[in-house]
Symmetry: C2
Subunit: 159 residues, 2 copies
Amino acid sequence: MTDHAALPTRAQDMFCFATYVASHCINRAYAPLLKPLGLTYPKYITLTLLWDKDWQSIGELASHLKMETSTVTPLVKRLEAMAHVRRQRGTQDERQVFVHLTASGKKLQKSAPQITACMVEATGLELSELDSVVATLGKLVKNLTNTRNSKEAAGDKSR
Amino acid sequence: MTDHAALPTRAQDMFCFATYVASHCINRAYAPLLKPLGLTYPKYITLTLLWDKDWQSIGELASHLKMETSTVTPLVKRLEAMAHVRRQRGTQDERQVFVHLTASGKKLQKSAPQITACMVEATGLELSELDSVVATLGKLVKNLTNTRNSKEAAGDKSR
DNA sequence: GTCAAGTATATCGTGCGCGATATGAATTCA
DNA sequence: TGAATTCATATCGCGCACGATATACTTGAC
């Protein structure tokens, strides 16, 4: 306990480390729940986005996931190989590829509430605590993504 | 209103999704700060653990990172290839491999405070908010790892 | 129409991260 | 002592995730 350092130096005290570790632990906790469905967490979360809104483009999905299209493209292809989604070139703009659910992809949604309940239960945390984490991390993500693109987007007049 | 109705269904509202996305955003934010040092975030966090305590075994590092040794082994080998650490078989127990810092590995520690400050700044969050996230995710990780290894955790220490 | 610039997705190489499996050392026990 | 078991690490195959680059399509200037 040193009082002169406001910023932590040990990995254990850093929010980055905590998020990094938690992310992998959550992934591992999901694995046994998703395995019976033949899904991984990235595949599952992509389906979740499509359950919320079907027919999204690769770019749209990547934007929600905060990921590069170079990650989403093969991910969607694997989902297509499992026949859960289908890819279709846009008619208006042929550069775009729209992803939509098949019957089997829609069917998986029925398993979601059970899986969510399982995960919340496994954390051993109150819903209020989880909500708080979601809110704070949401702000963090917003700020990190904003600062990345601020050079081009925002005016650089102030210097 | 049942308890079930209180659980979110949209990906955007789930703590898993929030943690997943935040983890990758943090990784991306670190990249430009670590690139001048030739490091990635997993390499950096491993060095951080060694700065806190030098001469740790592969298993010890894996335990702190909450990762499999199959992940840590090649990670440490890459750090060794960069001459930041050296691996050495244990003399007492020759199954173990101890990792220790070289001069160049120790030297990198000087960059850490600046990097930490940069990251905290980039989040745009108060230290109290970050501390809160660390605390809650810490409990989450503890609970998730406990349920996985509940058998061993029960009465192994008493021997 | 044609050329230039911009956009959406795809491809490639590298670095994680995991489970399953292998190898060799240490420990237990018959 | 020697066989069986346990343990620490290593290896392998697969699935992400990224940046850099390529390709095909669209838009705008002329």
